[in-house]
């Protein structure tokens, strides 16, 4: 009987080793360890043995059964792992296919420029002031030292609605309104908005465009403060190694008036097509608030002084992004607009 047992064990272990799938192995389990299997039969047949042999024989059968079970379990772990691997292999996807699209939009490039400028000046303590696009001649011109018949009115041919109402030609009326409302108190504002001039639309002109202007009024505001402020702006907007230079200019609402150039951000000053070989790029106009403008708004120009500056986001966007035609900003071609999605940080 002992020999029969050993034979049985050898056979079982061979079958276990031969089993190549979980199912085959389960068949082996049933065949050898099941209720109708040979090992169970052997245990049932023990009753026929003499009583003194039974314990020994019983122990022997159990050893064999345990060994078969252990081998079988080990083999089972292996086969199950293989089966899982095979299944996962069959589930392989093509990871080069495109991802599920996430719908995204983005801001208009002019909004992007305007908000960048707003945020820069907000960080320097400015508030954002806005005003109507249809404006009184008084705020658009007269309050800014441009009385009727002033030669500088030729500089900005305007869209009038009545003799005294027009589409604003700059955002400066917002400054005039703010000054009037502040009743002689200090001011620190930035004024973005749409403006309109009688220009035929072409690659460099648009009858509608945007402007952003700044105004600071306070005690002892000096021209050096204007220069310092513009320098901070130029570096933040166009790069830390930008230099600025001021050139004398003329605006009726400022005296002295300047135009500001920045050193070319493309060539660094050696001359290229962006700066028209000069090394400098004209960015904005500025100046010290004209005493007439202060007095018209009820300020004591002996006590409070100020500076103002203004620039065109279109021009800045055209320079920054290399846009060659101002009409792109108003055509809304999605192939243009969607390019202004990514950050530049």
């Amino acid at each position: 009987m002992e020999a029969q047992l050993q034979e049985l064990k050898t056979q079982a272990l061979e079958k276990i080793a031969e089993a190549s799938t979980v199912k085959e192995l389960n068949d082996v389990r049933v065949a050898y360890l099941g209720k109708k299997g040979p090992i169970t039969d052997l245990l049932k047949g023990m009753g026929k043995l003499p009583a003194e042999e039974r314990p020994k024989m019983g122990a022997l059968v159990n050893v064999v059964r345990e060994e078969v079970t252990t081998q079988l379990e080990a083999r089972m772990v292996l086969l199950e792992e293989e089966a899982i691997n095979a299944k996962l292999q069959s589930e392989t996807i093509d990871i080069t296919l495109p991802g599920r699209p996430v719908k995204t939009g983005n801001a208009h490039p002019l909004t992007r420029v305007v908000e960048e400028i707003e945020d820069l000046f907000i960080s320097m303590g400015y508030e954002v002031a806005e005003g109507p696009e249809v404006e009184k001649d008084y705020y658009n011109f007269e309050a800014l030292n441009l009385p009727k018949g002033h030669p500088a009115r030729d500089m900005q041919d305007s869209f009038y609605i009545t003799e005294d109402v027009l589409l604003r030609t700059h955002t400066s009326p917002v400054q005039a309104r703010t000054m009037e409302a502040k009743g002689g108190e200090p001011i620190k504002i930035i004024c973005p908005g749409k403006v309109y001039r009688r220009d035929s639309d072409d690659a460099t002109h648009s009858h509608q465009f945007t402007q952003i202007e700044g105004l600071v009024i306070g005690e002892d505001i000096r021209m050096s403060d204007l220069k310092g402020t513009l320098s901070v702006f130029a570096k933040k907007m166009f790069g830390d190694d930008r230099e600025i230079r001021l050139r004398p200019s003329f605006f009726p609402f400022t005296e002295p008036s300047v135009e500001m150039d920045i050193s070319c951000f493309k060539c660094g000053g050696s001359g290229c097509n962006v700066c028209k070989k000069t090394g400098w790029i004209e960015i904005l106009g500025a100046g010290m608030v004209h005493p007439n403008v202060l007095e018209m708004a009820g300020y004591d120009s002996k006590r409070l002084t100020g500076f103002a500056f203004g620039m065109g986001p279109e021009r800045i966007a055209m320079l920054k992004y290399g846009v060659e035609d101002i009409r792109h900003f108003y055509t809304n071609d999605v192939r243009f607009l969607s390019q202004f999605q990514r950050t530049e940080l």
Binding site: P98, P101, T104, G105, A107, H108, L110, T111, E115, E118, F121, I122, M124, G125, V128, E133, V134, G149, P151, A152, Y160, P186, K188, K194, Y196, R198, S200, H207, Q208, G218, D220, I221, R222, M223, S224, D225, K227, G228, T229, V232, R245, L246, R247, P248, S249, F250, E255, P256, S257, V258, M288, H290, P291, Y330, T331, N332, D333, V334, R335, L337
Partner: protein, 799 residues
């Protein structure tokens, strides 16, 4: 203003600075030099030739074979100009010559005949056609007889010159003359200005013996000077004068006209020459025109005059529009022998208005408009008399006929050095300030530490201390100003809640997949009111540039839809745009009611995940979802009510309601509107954004996260097609009691398995008690009430 550097050197030493360097100095100190133009254009080998003979080319009608003495030799040159003739002195480009535009002259054969060079027109020397004297506009230029054969044309005719093109701002009218520029350059380089020396022989007869003067409008014309020059010979001006005019951008005509233009350029004082005999009356009267009076001006236009316009008359009829343009009836011609030279001060506003009325802007009017120097009116007349006696052989009658009521006093400006330095934020020494003012030729005294400055009348832009600050700062150099920041206490800065929320809206919409567009505010009559939420009168420009841009928009959608069509026409089939901007409604005062709106337009596929087979065209509910999410984001309660609007689908349009007010619309475009705009299914929305953003939002307080589970029950209902989901939802909510927490539609079926006119809608109801876990019985009890209520309103429960 075009400034010939060779001409400028008559008045000021330019220190032999290279033109570009001089231009840079002028730009940096105050007047922008827009261009530096080399008049020689790099030309070489261009000489004076003498046409010894000229015969027709046997093979070509239009060509002539010329034997031209060019100094070293006589060369055969073929010439195609109609005005070539034997005995002329001409401009010859020799073989090897370089001309403007990269042209190189080589020996050539023209129809079998050798040609050793080219006889040139002025255009071929780089002079603009409109500046070439009319006699030579269509052919070669003929030089004066005394031009030296073989000599260099470039050096001898002032083409070895550089012109600075000044971009003048309106305040610097003083620089609209060579003398004005000389003063500016003198101030920059610390050089003296040399004025022209005026001297000429006067006749024994007086001007007053031939001419009388009456000024009936002393306010508009406070100064009038007339000189009479007789026995003149009208002819071509000498080359140097013609070349200087051309360099200044003025076309030469004849010596009389050229002299007036030369003095205009030199002094900035416009002059006019009348033919004395054509005046006919020996009188000049300056007066306002009679309403409807007519004049034919030098440009041959007949013009109707108005009573506010100033005219020069011969005592009877107008002979010139004062300061704007002369009349044809008194024009100087080749037959003229006696001229009246007018030099006057016309008030700027009057000239500006008249010039605007007639749409006539001339070199003269543009100077009068900005104000001429009253101290140059008389010298300019004398300078012209001198040149006419020198160049036209004229006899200048002694004295002038003068009306003079103008103030020629210098403006006094007082300013303290401390004031200057404190406004600039720097320290400029007192001595340097004095030096700068002296360089500007401003007579300056120091009185009790104050600068007392007499400003010459040529600088009418200097009126107040701040103007003096600018003069000192610009000549000291703006580079010297330090960079500081305002020292006042710092303010927090920031956006208003409205502005901050506008950015939130922007970011939300972009996150939802929309691109921000910007369109024009001006539109056509047709588009102005389309899709307008409020119907008010439209606003039209007084003088639009085109009908397309004549009216202020009352809705953002028409232009936004144009942008959508622009894209679909270029095969961008799916487009989702939004815009925020003002619409312009009639207001209560003279200004308009500008309302900030938000508009969205979407066409094509909203969901497009092609390789996974998921494609969904846009529909009404895409936009409704966006509005719902936006209202949640902003904490305002927006509701929807069925409605209709022109050009929107009558069954697929809803108004957006805020606190009982219609503040927006969502809808699908009407099929005929879609067709008209060449669009497929397109949905649009417009909201009065201002109405939403001006609302104050409540403080955010958190609600406790549920501690007990909720339970849900579904119910499917068969309803009439026309019963709205919201109606049923209201029935459910009111029957559900306080345990009913949420009701949601989760299925809609309208297909052919349904009875005609019916639809199936399935709702999911969520029950919840914040105090405890609900039992099945409690939920069933509540739910049965709901089912009963639904049955009551005729909804059929579907199993």
């Amino acid at each position: 203003m075009l400034v010939s550097i060779n001409w400028l050197k008559d008045y000021v030493n330019t220190q032999q600075l290279p033109p570009a360097e001089l231009g840079e100095k002028i730009t940096r100190s105050g007047i922008e030099v827009d261009a530096v133009i080399d008049r020689s254009h790099g030309m070489t080998n261009v000489v004076v030739g003498y046409v010894e003979s000229c015969v027709k080319h046997p093979e070509a009608d239009k060509l002539s074979i010329c034997q031209v003495d060019v100094g070293e030799e006589t060369a055969q040159i073929i010439c195609g100009a109609p005005n070539i003739a034997e005995g002329q002195k001409v401009i010859v480009a020799r073989p090897g010559a370089k001309l403007p535009g990269g042209i190189k002259i080589k020996k050539a054969k023209l129809r079998g005949e050798e040609s050793n060079g080219m006889i040139c027109s002025l255009q071929e020397l780089g002079i603009e056609g409109k500046l070439v004297p009319k006699a030579y506009a269509e052919g070669i230029y003929v030089l004066p007889k005394d031009a030296e054969t073989g000599s260099d044309v470039i050096a001898n005719f002032n083409l070895d010159d550089t012109v600075l093109e000044l971009g003048l701002t309106p305040n610097r009218a003083d620089a609209m003359s060579m003398l004005g520029v000389a003063y500016e350059v003198g101030a920059i380089l610390s050089e003296e200005v040399k004025l022209p020396e005026i001297s000429y022989q006067e006749s024994a007869d007086t001007a007053a013996s031939m001419l009388t003067l009456t000024v009936d409008a002393p306010e508009a014309n406070p100064l009038y000077v007339a000189k009479v020059v007789r026995n003149i010979k009208v002819q071509e001006s000498p080359m140097w004068l013609q070349q200087r005019l051309m360099a200044a951008g003025v076309r030469p005509h004849n010596n009389v006209v050229d002299v007036t233009n030369y003095v205009l350029m030199e002094y900035g004082q416009p002059l006019h020459a009348f033919d004395y005999d054509l005046l006919g009356t020996g009188n000049i009267t300056v007066r306002h025109a009679k309403e409807g009076e007519m004049i034919t001006t030098l440009d041959d236009a007949e013009r109707k005059l108005s009573a506010h316009q100033l005219v020069i008359t011969n005592g009877e009829k107008p002979v010139a529009i004062a300061g704007v343009m002369g009349g044809a009836n008194s024009e100087v011609s080749d037959a003229t022998t006696t001229v009246v030279i007018e030099s006057a001060y016309f008030e700027s506003g009057s000239v500006r208005q008249t010039s605007k009325d007639h749409g006539l802007r001339s070199d003269a009017s543009s100077r009068f408009e900005k104000g001429v120097d009253p101290n140059r009116v008389i010298p300019a007349a004398e300078r012209a008399a001198q040149l006419l006696s020198e160049l036209a052989g004229g006899e200048v009658l002694s004295g002038s006929v003068v009306f003079d009521k103008v103030s020629k006093e210098e403006k006094i400006v007082k300013v303290s050095p401390d004031f200057i330095n404190s406004r600039l934020g720097m320290k400029i020494a007192f001595e340097e300030m004095l030096d700068i003012l002296n360089r500007l030729k401003f007579t300056t005294e120091a009185v009790n530490g104050q600068l007392v400055i007499s400003v010459p009348t040529r600088r009418q832009d200097i009126q107040i201390p701040e103007d003096v600050i600018e003069e000192i700062a610009r000549l000291h150099g703006y580079d010297e100003i330090p960079a500081t920041l305002p020292e006042a206490e710092t303010t927090p800065g920031g956006l208003t809640p409205y502005q901050a929320k506008r950015r939130i809206v922007r970011n939300f919409l972009e996150g939802a997949g929309l691109l921000q567009a910007t369109t024009y505010s001006l539109t056509s009559e047709k588009s102005a009111k389309q899709f307008a939420l409020e119907k008010t009168e439209t606003t039209r420009l007084l003088m639009p540039m085109s009908e397309e841009r004549s009216i202020l928009r009352q809705s953002l959608l028409p232009h936004l839809l144009e942008s959508v069509t622009y894209n679909t026409a270029r095969r961008m089939d799916s487009v989702a745009l939004y815009e925020t901007g003002a619409v312009f409604l009639k207001g209560n005062d003279e200004l308009l009611n500008e309302q900030e709106h938000l508009a969205v337009a979407i066409t094509g596929l909203w969901l497009d995940n092609s390789w996974q087979g998921e494609k969904k065209p846009v529909d009404f509910f895409v936009l409704k979802g966006i509005v719902e999410a936006l209202s949640a984001k902003l904490g305002v309660e927006l509701t929807f009510e069925r409605g209709q609007m022109d050009d929107l689908h009558p069954g697929r349009t809803a108004f957006v309601v805020l606190n009982g007010q219609r503040i927006g619309v969502i809808g699908q475009l009407h099929p005929s509107e879609q067709k008209a705009r060449d669009l497929k299914t397109t949905v649009v929305m417009e909201l009065n954004l201002a109405a939403i953003l001006t609302l104050e939002t409540e403080a955010l307080v958190y609600t406790q996260v549920p501690r007990y589970p909720s339970m849900s029950r579904d119910v499917a209902l068969v309803l009439s097609k026309f019963v709205e989901a919201a109606t049923i939802e209201n029935v459910i909510r009111s029957a559900g009691g306080k345990l009913l927490k949420d009701v949601r539609v989760f299925d809609l079926y309208e297909g052919d398995k349904m009875e005609e006119g019916k639809k199936s809608v399935a709702f999911s109801l969520t029950y919840f008690d914040p105090e405890k876990t609900l039992t099945d019985e409690e939920v069933t009890k509540a739910h049965e009430k709901v089912l009963a209520a639904l049955t009551d309103v005729g909804a059929e429960l579907r199993s």
